[in-house]
């Protein structure tokens, strides 16, 4: 069952994080809904978090990796809060949160 011992080493974590990253990117790129993009971003951040934790255990066996993830989580929370506030404001402005609408800064 290489799948099992597979999960003891770092590959498991890296695989999950790469998948998460891909899905995150995918959702960010394809979502029309602003909140969808936000979800994508959260996924990407978590993928990074997993990587750090995995490396903190498998590589340096030191707390630093986890510290980074801790900070990632904190900042992600702040970011989500502000993002949602913006989305709400945008929604109040445009009555829709379709990402394509938010193109005032076009050429």
């Amino acid at each position: 069952m290489n799948l099992l011992d597979f999960s003891n080493s770092i590959e498991g974590y890296l695989l999950v994080s790469s998948i998460l990253l891909t899905l995150g990117i995918f959702s960010v790129l394809t979502r029309k809904n602003a909140i969808g993009i936000l979800l994508g971003v959260e996924l990407i951040l978590n993928a990074a978090g997993i990587n750090f934790v995995a490396f903190s255990k498998f590589h340096s066996a030191a707390i630093d990796g986890q510290m980074v993830t801790l900070f990632i989580i904190l900042i992600a929370a702040a970011e989500a809060a502000v993002a949602l506030a913006i989305i709400l404001r945008f929604y109040r402005l445009k009555q829709t949160i379709d990402a394509d609408e938010a193109s005032l800064l076009r050429n």
């Binding site: 990117i25 790129l29 990402a99 394509d100 076009r106």
Partner: protein
């Protein structure tokens, strides 16, 4: 003695400086300063003269370096160009100087005294005396200078003074023109004179007279040619031209009559006694050079004769009293130059002295006449004999002198000149016309002089008003007249030996000739080298002829003007063309002014100025500017079209096009930006992990 000479010159010079600077503020406007100065000079000059009379000869020189220019020190007249040049100046006192000094200072002082009266009340009174003092200084400087350079300098200073004095009444336009004409004509002469000096330098390496005399004696420069003609001839001619300019000989005589615009004392001092004599004095000083240049003397003689005759003719028709005297001066000068030309060195020089006295007297007398009747036109005068007895008497004596009546100074000098001329004519038959002309002129002189006397003093007053006002001049004016009249007597020239110095033919010339012979030997002058008996024969003949001619002149003049037997007017009508010719002074004036100046010289200057402005300036200089302009526009066009349009704007459009393309990427959609980033991320990742 030379030291005193310096003082003689310095005194009037200081008077000039004082007058010019503070004259206005001095009491009596400083005329006494000038008079005292000239009297001082006179006082210094008399001992020199007395020494001459006593010892018969006086000689002293004083020299000092004026300009020293280092260079290759070579023999003074060696052809090396960059040889050292030192110009020395100094004082030469010999018999000539002594006599001239005495005469000049005497006349000048008398004229100074006269002009205190005459010029009384004039506006620029102090300046008048300043100029006269400067003039005296100049004349005296000329007389004493031992080299031609300083002689030339004083010569020109006198020219300046004559310019200033003639133009004294500068409000009058005629006075200005006259002064300018005087200065310019004399200037022509001066330029020639200077060239002569340059020639002398070239030949003798110096302008010092005594060195020149030695040089002539040793025959220096006889072989040198200047501008193709023998050097000494060239120098001689140049000096002659100098004299012609200064002494108003033909053809440069136009300025003297006009010089009468100046106040009468000026005419007396400058245009009778001294300045004009300077020209002749130059000839006297440089006589050895003239003699060495064989060719020059005959020319001088002819010029002298011609001038004398022509001037006399013009004098016949003149109505202005001063003009008559002016022309008489010209003709007398002609006589002097004639004398020099024919070789009568001593009589020529003597005539200078005698002429100075009586001509000064004549002028001053006419001055006092003008002063009282306030007009110069003889036609408005007449019958002044009773009104102005002293003036009449002194003028009459001077007229007798000038007419050549024996017993008077004029006869003494003029007769001897005519005698020598006759002798010269006999030895050079081709030149015979010169003495003949001389005698005729003598006659004419007598005629017009007495015409003048009769018209002014005799007959009835033509202008009652003026006649009424006429009054005798004050003592300051009459005293000089009396002194000068006294000098017109022949006996004066007998010198200290008194009566017994009178030679065979009643000519009291013994001491004079003796003095001049001394100078001749000193300078190496041969003088007239006619044989003894020819000379004796000529002189006796000359005396007779001159007496006849003088008497004839006086008689005819009396007939026409005193007794009105011959009507002058009829004569004029008969010889109308001659009269107009004479009246217009042979059109010399017109020739010079109207033709040479107005027609030739001024248009040339205007042409030259135009040429300069148009051709040289516009074409040569601005032309370049135009060329540049053309070039500029061409280059500008090229620059504009090629460089600007293609290079610059072209790249501009390329850039903007590129900009447009890139702008399409900026859709504003966040997601599309992210796609781009991730594509790049992917590529990067691919690259990193290959």
């Amino acid at each position: 003695m030379a030291q005193s000479c310096l003082w003689i010159v310095a005194l009037p010079l200081t008077a000039f400086v004082i007058q010019a600077l503070v004259g206005k503020r001095l009491p009596r406007q400083g005329d006494w300063v000038s008079v005292l100065a000239i009297l001082g000079s006179f006082a210094l000059a008399t001992p020199i003269f007395l020494k001459l009379l006593a010892t018969g000869a006086v000689h002293e020189t004083l020299q000092f370096n004026w300009m020293v220019m280092p260079g290759v020190d070579a023999v003074s007249n060696s052809p090396i160009l960059n040889k050292a040049v030192t110009l020395t100046v100094g004082v030469l006192v010999n018999n000539l100087t002594a006599i001239m000094l005495f005469m000049v200072t005497l006349c000048a002082s008398l004229i100074h005294i006269f002009s205190t009266g005459y010029m009384h009340g004039e506006s620029r009174y102090h300046l008048f005396f300043a100029y006269i003092s400067l003039f005296s200084a100049g004349m005296l400087g000329l007389v004493i200078s031992d080299n031609l350079l300083t002689l030339f300098m004083c010569w020109e200073v006198m020219g300046l003074c004559s310019y200033l004095l003639i133009g004294f009444y500068y409000q009058k336009l005629s006075a200005n023109n006259a002064s300018l004409k005087a200065f310019m004509t004399t200037r022509v002469g001066d330029v020639m004179f200077f060239l002569g000096i340059c020639g002398l330098y070239y030949v003798f390496g110096t302008s010092n007279l005594s060195q020149i005399y030695e040089g002539i004696k040793t025959g220096v420069g006889s072989d040198v040619t200047l501008l193709g003609i023998p050097a000494l001839a060239f120098i001689g001619f140049m000096l002659m031209m100098g004299t012609i300019g200064k002494s108003a000989q033909f053809p440069l005589q136009v300025w003297l009559p006009d010089a009468m615009e100046g106040p009468t004392p000026v005419s007396a001092l400058i245009h009778a006694a001294t300045m004009v004599a300077a020209g002749v004095f130059l000839l006297v000083r440089t006589y050895p050079v003239l003699e060495a240049a064989k060719v020059v003397l005959p020319v001088i003689a002819t010029v002298g004769a011609l001038t004398a005759f022509l001037a006399a003719c013009i004098a016949l028709v003149q109505v202005d009293i001063k003009k008559v005297l002016a022309y008489s001066t010209i003709s007398q000068l002609g006589f002097m130059v004639l004398g020099m030309g024919v070789g009568s060195f001593a009589p020529g020089f003597m005539h200078v002295i005698t002429h100075a006295c009586f001509k000064a007297c004549l002028f001053l007398a006419s001055g006092s006449v003008i002063h009282s009747v306030h007009t110069q036109d003889m036609r408005e005068m007449g019958g002044l004999r009773s009104k102005m007895p002293i003036t009449f008497l002194t003028m009459f004596i001077a007229t007798l002198a000038i007419a050549g009546v024996p017993g008077f100074s004029g006869f003494v000098s003029k007769d001897r000149i005519l005698g020598d001329a006759l002798a010269y004519g006999m030895t050079h038959p081709s030149q015979m016309w010169i003495p003949v002309l001389g005698f005729i002129t003598a006659g004419l002189t007598a005629f017009y002089m007495f015409r003048l006397i009769f018209m002014t003093f005799f007959g009835h007053a033509r202008d009652e008003h003026k006649h009424h006002h006429a009054h005798e001049s004050p003592i300051t004016m009459t005293f000089p007249l009396m002194v000068l009249a006294a000098l017109s007597f022949a006996i004066v020239f007998a010198g200290p030996t008194g009566i017994h110095s009178v030679d065979a033919n009643l000519l009291p010339i013994h001491w004079f000739d003796h003095a001049l012979d001394h100078v001749k030997t000193e300078m190496g002058v041969q003088g007239l080298h006619a044989s003894e008996e020819v000379e004796h024969h000529a002189h006796s003949l000359a005396m007779i002829v001159s007496l006849v001619v003088a008497g004839l002149g006086i008689f005819l003049s009396a007939l026409t003007y005193l007794k009105k037997v011959i009507s002058a007017a009829a004569f004029e009508k008969a010889l109308k063309p001659v009269h107009t010719l004479l009246w217009n002074k042979y059109y010399f004036d017109d020739l010079y002014i109207k033709v040479v100046i107005q027609k030739l010289f001024l248009p040339l200057t205007v042409l030259m100025a135009k040429f300069d402005d148009k051709v040289v300036d516009h074409i040569f200089v601005d032309g370049w500017a135009k060329v540049a302009m053309v070039l500029k526009s061409v280059i500008a066009k090229f620059d504009d079209v090629v460089v600007d349009k293609l290079a610059v704007d072209g790249s501009g459009t390329v850039v903007s096009a590129g900009g447009w393309v890139l702008r399409q990427f900026q859709t504003g959609k966040v997601q599309q930006y992210l796609i781009l980033t991730f594509i790049v991320f992917g590529m990067l990742l691919f690259y990193m992990t290959r």
